[in-house]
């Protein structure tokens, strides 16, 4: 009998929750301006698949806001565009399985024309096959792993359901270029000849470090122990013994392949404790998460030790055509400065909106339009198009260094690695 009572209670609870939430289910989707829709306007959606909660919030939220800003500024005649937002962070960490579920949800929502996301390469691996099979195009603002698009690195396995119908593009350039750029900075700007390389044993970090090693050696430098040193995947960010190991071999550059969450900021901090403050440290866009005033960012965790000896690359152009306007508009709408990928999110939204404008509210046509290499886009990131694998033709890496005055990243230079 207890069971029946429990069952009844559960049923009543479900009905109550359902009654109240069926009106609220539109809450996460509504983001666009409440334009007085003319009766002829077709309602379409852009899907969002980003990590939005927990430790991933500083990554996903600014990107989402970039998309929201785009929607508020760009009108597509004849359409009302809103968002269908999905979060792939489980317990604060991006989860490929959750990402797969989310993409499936977006696929099942017939009004979703295209998706902005995902943010993490490991999640993309789970999502690309699904998007490919369903013919729903994804534009990633931040994925950099080479195996997602390049056939020679296994990308064809991901799109084997429909190998001729690409459904994934990205506006960030790839880690083979980014790792190489990092090595370039180390060799030419920091004038280093002996590097000690560390990675966080994650997909992104390890790939970046491996590319750094290959390029640094090719440029003529030496990598201590010949390869990247890994720290345990779920480690606590204790690099002391690794740093002592490095110190004994007198490196003149430390490269970290990884993100802040897996220990980037702590590494810099501990370099000081180990007496290595004078040695420059470099990393990729995993360290690009805001100024020292942003809690939990690399610069924040590195403490006052983020001195001019810290370098960082971002797999996107810095010289965007109108940075001041973007910053002002973003700040007006959200009250804070844009994040590292806000412009990328904005650009992805622009790509999808452009497609809707040209072919209408048809998912298959939008996919075909976006993945057509002959189409080019004039976005906040500048002009670019996508190649036949979905990679952006804008192969620019921007270098940054720490500015002790503003306690933020300062742009140094950017390098265009040319057409593929």
């Amino acid at each position: 009998m207890k069971l029946a009572r429990m069952g009844a209670a559960l049923a009543i609870a479900a009905i109550v929750v359902g009654a109240c939430s069926s009106s609220a289910t539109t809450a996460p989707s509504a983001a666009a301006p409440a334009s007085a829709a003319a009766p002829a306007n077709i309602a379409v959606k852009i899907g969002i698949e980003l990590p939005l909660s927990g430790g991933e919030k500083p990554n996903g939220e600014p990107t989402l806001n970039g998309v929201k800003l785009a929607l508020s500024q760009i009108q597509v005649p004849g359409f009302t565009v809103t968002l269908n937002v999905q979060d792939d962070a489980v317990n604060g960490v991006h989860d490929p399985q959750q990402g797969a579920k989310n993409i499936q949800t977006l696929v099942n929502d017939a009004t979703v024309m295209g998706v902005v996301g995902p943010f993490n390469s490991s999640v993309a691996k789970a999502e690309i096959p699904i998007g490919n099979a369903a013919g729903l195009v994804q534009c990633s603002p931040a994925n950099t792993n080479i195996s997602l698009t390049k056939p020679e690195f296994g990308a064809l396995d991901l799109r084997k359901t429909k190998p001729d119908e690409l459904a994934y593009v990205r506006v960030a350039t790839t880690d083979d270029i980014q790792g190489a750029a990092g090595a370039d900075i180390a060799y030419t700007i920091a004038k280093a000849r002996k590097a000690f390389v560390i990675d966080d044993t994650e997909t992104y970090g390890k790939a970046l470090s491996d590319q750094f090693v290959a390029t640094f050696v090719k440029l003529g430098g030496t990598v201590i122990d010949g390869a990247s040193h890994g720290v345990p995947k779920s480690g606590q960010g204790d690099f002391t013994s690794l740093l002592s190991l490095a110190k004994a071999q007198n490196p003149d550059f430390i490269f970290f392949g990884g993100v802040t969450a897996t220990g980037g900021g702590l590494l810099r901090k501990q370099m000081v404790t180990a007496g290595m403050a004078a040695i420059p440290m470099g990393g990729g866009d995993g360290l690009s998460d805001g100024a020292a005033s942003v809690s939990g960012s690399f610069l924040n965790l590195a403490g006052d030790q983020g001195d001019p000896n810290t370098y960082m690359t971002v797999a996107a152009t810095h010289d965007i055509p109108n940075p001041e306007k973007l910053k002002a508009d973003y700040k007006a709408m959200f009250g804070v400065d844009p994040g590292a990928y806000s412009a990328s999110g904005y650009a992805c939204a622009q790509v999808i909106l452009e497609a809707i404008k040209n072919v209408g509210g048809d998912r298959a046509k939008v996919r075909a339009y976006v993945t057509d290499p002959s189409h080019s886009y004039d976005t906040v990131l500048g002009k670019f198009s996508f190649d036949k694998n979905g990679d952006t033709t804008q192969r620019i890496i921007s270098d940054y260094t720490f500015d002790p005055g503003t306690k933020d990243w300062k742009f140094v230079s950017q390098k265009d690695f040319g057409a593929a």
Binding site: Q236, S241, S244, L266, T273, G275, G296
Partner: protein, 328 residues
């Protein structure tokens, strides 16, 4: 408690020999690193070993007590407005001692509260129940901290100058590391003295040997167990302070891994044995550092847990065997 003198000296002698050989292999700086990491594990392991010795419970939440201790320290230091190194020595002394006292008292109290509400009702329940409860408490603690402090790691003020170094036989060693090692030793010796010389210590030992007999002899079991939890959690709190002073950062997931390794230390040394826990902690520190030096950094966790499994299978009483109580 029977101890054979010959046996008792053999293991420390072997360990001393191994330690010296290792020192030649990894160098002074890494040796000090190992002692420092080991000191933290030892402090946490003591709590595990005492609680297990007295009520045969693996307190899963203990690692998270350490983590909460580090957040208490972080909160204290940032609320008091400290942003970096304190160069004024008397002030530094006051701040450091004060922080230790505060963190230890707070975490000790937290430990007592957890015991009172989550473990005591289950004292006579089948083994599975308090174990599962402990896991539940562990997740609760993690999430409470996540709610208050957010999910990202936080950067704390390292009030002791981390760049200060001192010359130790020709090698530059960091002052902070020596401080950590010294603090750990002081606390361990204090604990050992308490357990072996005071009345409450005797009560703890007798409860560990035979709870009913102790009760018949007039020992207040509830108070004794509460004191055990207080001391163990206070030491974990001290480890939390060390985490902030030495590494300058903490995050809500710190407790799980640290707890597992500390438990490995306790088991390695002999669960229920205070000296064993300390020894185990340092051993695990050495194992980790040696893995890194040997180029097996990615495997260090697997190595530590592999050792845990091997010890439990082949020598469950650990290196130094039982001390707090007799267990078959």
């Amino acid at each position: 408690m029977r101890r054979r003198p010959g046996r008792g000296l053999l293991i420390p002698a072997v360990l001393l020999l191994v330690a010296t050989l290792d020192w030649r292999y990894i160098g002074t700086e890494q040796f000090v690193n190992a002692l420092t990491i080991g000191a933290v594990y030892a402090l946490i392991a003591l709590g595990y070993t005492m609680v297990y010795g007295i009520i045969e419970l693996i307190n899963f939440a203990h690692g998270d007590v350490f983590m909460v201790g580090s957040f208490v320290t972080y909160w204290l230091l940032s609320s008091l407005g400290f942003r970096g190194t304190i160069s004024d020595l008397p002030l530094l002394l006051v701040v450091v001692v004060g922080t230790f006292l505060a963190a230890m008292v707070v975490m000790g109290t937290v430990g007592v509260v957890i015991e009172r509400f989550a473990y005591r009702p289950l004292r006579n329940a089948p083994r599975l129940a308090p174990l599962i409860t402990a896991i539940g408490v562990s997740f609760i603690l993690q999430n409470i901290i996540q709610i208050f402090f957010g999910p990202s790691p936080v950067s704390a003020a390292q009030v002791i100058d981390v760049q200060a170094r001192v010359d130790l036989g020709g090698v530059d060693v960091s002052v902070v590391k020596l401080f950590v090692i010294a603090v750990a030793f002081i606390l361990m010796i204090a604990l050992q003295t308490f357990v072996s010389r005071t009345r409450m210590g005797r009560a703890m030992r007798s409860t560990a040997i035979d709870r009913d007999a102790a009760q018949l002899m007039g020992v207040d079991i509830n108070t004794t167990i509460a004191v055990t939890f207080f001391l163990g959690s206070a030491l974990a709190g001290a480890a939390g302070v060390v985490q902030i002073l030495y590494l300058g950062t903490t995050n809500f997931q710190l407790g799980f891994q640290a707890g597992l390794k500390a438990f490995t230390s306790a088991v390695l040394g002999g669960i229920g044995n205070i000296t064993g826990a300390a020894l185990g902690g340092f051993l695990i520190g050495f194992i980790e550092v040696n893995s890194t030096v040997a180029g097996l950094g990615r495997w260090s966790e697997a190595i530590v847990f592999g050792i845990l499994v091997l010890v439990l299978v082949f020598r469950p009483t650990g290196l130094l065997g039982q001390q707090l109580g007799e267990r078959a």
